[in-house]
């Protein structure tokens, strides 16, 4: 098990993870990041065109190893 840091945010807000989460390997980091992004989206997604949410993972050395993001497009069709 190693500790990984899951920073998250959107365009305006950056949340730096100071505590971290223990994961057994890269697959688990990816799964944890994805589940975290789902929760982040449920809580933080607003009806704003172009809003972007992301989770960025650092390892214990501070190296960035993974970024998951999604963005919302809102277009009026009429």
């Amino acid at each position: 098990m190693a500790r990984f840091y899951f920073d998250s945010g959107d365009r305006d807000l950056f949340f730096e993870d100071e505590i971290g989460v223990e994961c057994a390997g890269l697959d688990e980091v990816r799964r944890a990041g994805f589940e975290g992004l789902i929760d982040l989206t449920r809580e933080s997604l607003k009806s704003i065109d172009g809003q972007q949410l992301f989770i960025e993972v650092r390892d214990e050395n501070g190296d960035k190893i993974l970024r998951l993001s999604l963005s919302l497009q809102v277009k009026l069709m009429k």
């Binding site: 899951f6 949340f15 993870d17 505590i19 944890a32 929760d39 809580e43 989770i55």
Partner: protein, 246 residues
């Protein structure tokens, strides 16, 4: 600070929720309780079991848990010192959930026939046990509301308030500092949140000055603020003297 015997732990809890008189205390002191220590994450009783005893939590944190068909765990309630998580087993013969230690725990086992005999002879004690299971049900109702409808930040604050309040009411903590050596993953299973989001919510509460964390200790630095953030109202815990315990 800790009560000296296992029956004292039980008596103290029952006194917080019902009127137990001196004569009842003497009866409760005579209940044979078999103590046993468990490490964290041990199933004390499993779904499908037909136990012939109930148990009282003497130390540590215990959770009732259910698993979905695809193996996801939901912790459905926490139990602290003095609680009897499987008292319903006295009347419902087959366990419908697992009850597990979430931290190292000391458990006191009481035979069902011993509880039945006492309840038959001492109606005030029977009433106290009944109240205890009714309050457990009230805690479940609050839990469903918390997990189903509150935002993650409020949800996290709420569960911390509940734990601290319950630990205080049975005299396990004197201030607002609780030792909660449970993992973020277990908190996630209790709150229906991912580990990453649990981690984030704890840090948000910390940044707002509501809690401080050192190791496994959680300190509610601003109790009134945490209560507000957690949408926490103690009514559902049905304490006899709620005013004493803020």
């Amino acid at each position: 600070m800790s009560p000296t015997s296992s029956s004292d732990v039980l008596i103290r809890k029952l006194q917080t929720i019902s009127e137990i008189r001196e004569a009842d205390v003497d009866v409760l002191k005579g209940i044979p309780i078999q103590e046993k220590d468990f490490s964290a994450n041990h199933d004390l009783v499993r779904e499908g079991d037909r136990p012939v005893y109930s148990f009282v939590v003497l130390d540590g944190l215990v959770g009732s848990t259910k698993h979905t068909g695809d193996g996801k765990r939901q912790i459905t309630s926490f139990f602290v010192a003095g609680d009897i998580p499987d008292l319903h087993g006295l009347h419902l013969s087959v366990m419908d959930c697992n009850i597990s230690s979430l931290t190292p725990a000391r458990i006191g086992f009481i035979r069902h026939d011993a509880i039945r005999t006492i309840c038959n002879q001492h109606p005030r004690i029977a009433t106290a046990f009944w109240r205890s299971t009714l309050i457990d049900a009230a805690i479940y109702r609050e839990w469903v509301t918390n997990v189903g409808r509150r935002e993650a930040y409020t949800r996290m604050a709420h569960i911390l308030c509940e734990l601290i309040f319950r630990l205080r009411s049975v005299g396990r903590i004197q201030d607002h500092v609780a030792d909660l050596p449970i993992t973020q993953a277990a908190l996630g299973d209790a709150l229906g949140l991912s580990t990453v989001h649990v981690n984030r919510m704890l840090q948000e509460l910390r940044h707002k000055g509501l809690i401080a964390t050192t190791g496994s200790k959680v300190h509610a630095r601003d109790w009134a603020g945490l209560v507000h953030a957690g949408d926490f109202d103690t009514t559902y815990l049905h304490q006899r003297n709620p005013g004493d315990q803020h």
